[in-house]
């Protein structure tokens, strides 16, 4: 199949529609608006539903409604909009509805600006809204993965009855690359819990309210068991040059692309550097990081945040890691990361601010 040059923000819509998406509800925000533009064009021209909601709060509740009716639903936004969706995301989790949310991260806090950052990590990976719930979080690092992850996300969302996040950043949204678009269309099977406005589904109830502590306790426990299953079944990552590495980079999204370039550069300089990039941020490849932690001398987490993922890497590695943090929209060049790494490789200790 021929490859096409497609922007990440457009590829995600291609993947979604071929993955069986039926509904897109969203509210514009840079740098995610292009997804809404592409969805407005392609959902409508293919006979699916696109609707610009009045705000993100209602957008996520439209997802809630269409998901209740068995639809394959999605939205796309960025930090401020995802924050507004928090209550709805918690309701989706409570009612165990499948949904797909793309977060093209921008720089914060507050209005911040439209530049790339990866500072929604805690909000998205840890849950964001109220209650004991999780989202499955996929971390694309190319336009191809924007397409592929969207293509898979709906099936995953339905399998576990969870929200699947595609956690991208402004650069992964903007990048144009060769993308191989899937050639088979997925469809949502009829779900025994959903509402189809017919006799068979009439007794179904979508709710997140439970009326005594015993029931709510068991509901919570059931959710935790489901999340444990997700952790067993779904964790994905990719490694570059780790076999003999003694300096390990951990990074996702655009930071992983940068780190990959840095690893190549270090290898050229005969330094044993490697990269692990999580493809799923929840579940997190903790076990593999723990393993590599025993092998490597140092671990550096490259992130466009104040070290939000680094905290999870430290937890997995059971040691402090080097934190190469950039914030406020600043994105490092290969050279900048290279200099930090070269400097740290000279040190014997592994701790750095």
């Amino acid at each position: 199949m021929a490859k096409q040059l497609i922007k990440g923000n457009e590829a995600v819509v291609y993947g979604a529609l071929l993955g069986g998406a039926t509904h897109f509800f969203g509210y514009p925000i840079t740098p995610a608006s292009e997804i809404a533009h592409a969805a407005a064009e392609y959902f409508v021209s293919t006979g699916r539903c696109f609707l610009q909601a009045e705000d993100e709060v209602n957008a996520i509740n439209m997802l809630y409604g269409a998901a209740s009716a068995g639809g394959r639903v999605m939205t796309a936004s960025s930090g401020p909009g995802i924050a507004l969706m928090s209550e709805g995301l918690s309701y989706l989790a409570g009612a165990e509805l499948p949904a797909v949310v793309v977060d093209v991260q921008r720089a914060g806090p507050g209005l911040g600006n439209i530049w790339p950052e990866q500072a929604d990590y805690n909000m998205v990976v840890k849950g964001g809204g109220h209650g004991n719930y999780r989202n499955i979080v996929l971390a694309p690092f190319s336009a191809q993965e924007m397409c592929d992850f969207a293509y898979r996300a709906f099936e995953l969302a339905e399998r576990y009855r969870m929200t699947v996040f595609i956690l991208a950043d402004a650069y992964i949204g903007q990048i144009m690359e060769a993308v191989e678009v899937p050639t088979k269309v997925h469809h949502s099977p009829r779900k025994e819990w959903a509402l189809y406005a017919d006799r068979e589904s009439r007794h179904n109830l979508i709710t997140s309210i439970l009326m005594n502590t015993e029931l709510l306790y068991h509901h919570n426990k059931k959710l935790q068991e489901k999340y444990a299953k997700v952790e067993r079944e779904l964790v994905e990552w990719e490694e570059y040059d780790t076999e003999d590495a003694d300096f390990l980079f951990v990074a996702y999204g655009i930071s992983a692309r940068i780190s990959l370039s840095v690893v190549r550069e270090l290898r050229r300089l005969n330094q044993k550097a490697g990269l692990l990039r999580p493809k799923t941020l929840y579940p997190f490849p903790s076990a593999r990081i723990a393993e590599l932690s025993r092998q490597v001398r140092q671990i550096a987490v490259v992130e466009l945040s104040n070290g939000q993922m680094a905290a999870d890497v430290e937890l997995a590695a059971r040691r402090s890691v080097l934190k190469y943090n950039w914030m406020g929209g600043k994105v490092p060049s290969i050279q900048e990361v290279l200099e930090l790494a070269k400097e740290d490789m000279k040190q014997t200790t592994t701790v750095r601010g």
Partner: protein, 478 residues
């Protein structure tokens, strides 16, 4: 009509509430009970029980699903109209009900209801106005009357502090899309009969796909009004009705928008929709090319962004890996637009080009901005039509070519970036001229534009052969 028996739309026993449960959660004299019963009866009469999806709000009626033997969705506070929007847009055959209190609909959910109404969503909204937050302990609602004492207006609602009661039917009546708006009262038996006709009209409108229908029911809350059920009904009639006039605000025969289901593409059509555009014969000649880190920069109208896309397109058509990234955020400076393009035989790491080995500078500010970033022995193509100065660096290879003039000569100044790309292709050999010629018709829709751009390519090749070839022939191809 069944008068005192339980309508068959209600469950016989409320198992969702508890095993064998027969009682409702509503206080004696509460309007919710009346409203539920009317809706249940009408659903039975219209024979639409299987098709109904009932959205219950957060409020005293959060448990509507205990009673209604229909599809049920429990919504977050104020968002039932958004949830109902999702439902009705997912199920053409559904009869969607959004049942909401005054805090839910006119307070936290004001945005949701106004926009659902304005879009003319296919739903029947039953709005229970009891001038109070019932569930949470009798706080002020947007509909609370002036002087009315609530737990958050212990001295009575004061317009200077809390504003005036909001009249929802009147507000919604300002919008174009709704087909039916009526306010009814649950104050006495006659009024309840009238209310039932309204409920029926709203649901019939859904059966007939007419559109957004809104029924406000003035409804007693004896508990929080601190009255007996009889006093409450009297207060409702004497005090609430004058402020909230009971009447039909709108009942349109012909809906302003006709419902039309979308034409859904088949799988084959869908795949086709996203398949690569018509294939072109490009001999994929897998050659070893030194990684090309290209920065192409110019002012807004020079088409440097699309030139970058075009170049990346040529590269992937030849079987290379390629990335394109626009100037974005921190890179946007000095009035120049620029794109980063990388062409490589290998998987590409960062798509950001901060140290290019190729700079195509279409105007002076671009050269000023990026000259220093070019790696030693890199290639710099300068548009000498617009840049009068020479490079300050001596460790890079500079080509000065009047690309704007060359483009002007073929009749299209906007083709300047194509001229520059063609020169770059000639010099570097990273992409082939044949490829450029084949990709141009794929990238441009207008035949006339294709022709001029092809001419620009020819002119650039000619310029290259006459003026550049000697010095820089395919220098970077290994």
């Amino acid at each position: 009509m069944v008068k005192h028996a339980k309508p068959k739309t209600f469950y016989d026993t409320f198992e969702r509430r508890g095993p064998g449960e027969k009682n409702t959660t509503y206080c004696p004299g509460c309007g919710h009970g009346n409203a539920h019963k009317l809706i249940a009866e009408v659903i039975a009469e219209l024979g639409i029980q299987d098709r109904v999806i009932f959205c219950s709000p957060v409020g005293c009626s959060v448990f509507a699903y205990y009673y209604f033997d229909t599809g049920n969705v429990q919504c977050s506070h104020g968002r039932a109209p958004a949830v109902a929007t999702g439902l009705s847009r997912a199920r053409d055959n559904a009869i969607v009900i959004s049942y909401q209190g005054d805090g839910d609909l006119a307070g936290i959910g004001m945005g949701a209801i106004m926009h659902a109404a304005n879009r003319g969503e296919h739903m029947a909204v039953f709005f229970i106005n009891n001038a109070i937050y019932g569930m949470t302990g009798g706080q002020m609602a947007p509909t609370t009357l002036i002087g009315q004492k609530t737990t958050t207006t212990p001295f009575g609602r004061s317009p200077g502090r809390e504003g005036f009661p909001i009249r929802m039917c009147e507000l919604i009546n300002e919008l174009q899309a709704p087909v039916y708006i009526e306010r009814v009262s649950l104050g006495d038996a006659a009024r309840i009969m009238r209310a039932k006709r309204a409920v029926k009209q709203a649901l019939l409108n859904q059966v007939n796909k007419k559109g957004f229908s809104f029924v406000e029911l003035l409804s007693p809350c004896p508990i929080n009004w601190k009255m007996t059920p009889i006093e409450a009904r009297k207060w409702l009639i004497d005090t609430m009705e004058p402020l909230f006039p009971v009447k039909v605000f709108r009942n349109i025969e012909e809906p302003p928008v006709k419902y039309e289901p979308p034409k859904v593409l088949s799988d084959a059509e869908l795949v086709n929709h996203f398949a690569a555009t018509t294939e072109i014969e490009i001999p994929v000649s897998p050659r070893e090319v030194e990684d090309q880190y290209i920065k192409i920069a110019g002012f807004g109208g020079q088409g440097v962004m699309s030139a970058g896309v075009f170049l990346a397109n040529c590269a992937i058509k030849e079987g290379f890996n390629a990335t394109w990234l626009p100037s974005y955020g921190p890179e946007m400076r000095g009035g120049t637009a620029n794109a980063s393009v990388i062409i490589s035989n290998n998987q590409i790491g960062t798509p950001l080009v901060s140290s290019p080995n190729v700079l195509i500078a279409m105007n002076a500010p671009s050269l000023d901005t990026f000259e220093e970033t070019v790696v030693s022995s890199g290639l710099v193509i300068v548009n000498s039509s617009l840049v009068s100065r020479k490079l300050r660096r001596e460790d890079v290879r500079a080509i000065y070519a009047p690309v704007t003039e060359i483009a002007k000569d073929v009749g299209l100044i906007a083709a300047a970036s194509v001229v520059a790309l063609t020169l770059y292709a000639c010099i570097s050999g990273a992409v082939q001229i044949e490829t450029i010629k084949k990709v141009i018709p794929l990238s441009l829709k207008k035949k006339a534009l294709v022709d001029v751009n092809l001419k620009a390519v020819e002119a650039a090749v000619e310029y290259y052969q006459k003026n550049i070839k000697e010095a820089y022939s395919y220098t970077s191809v290994k």
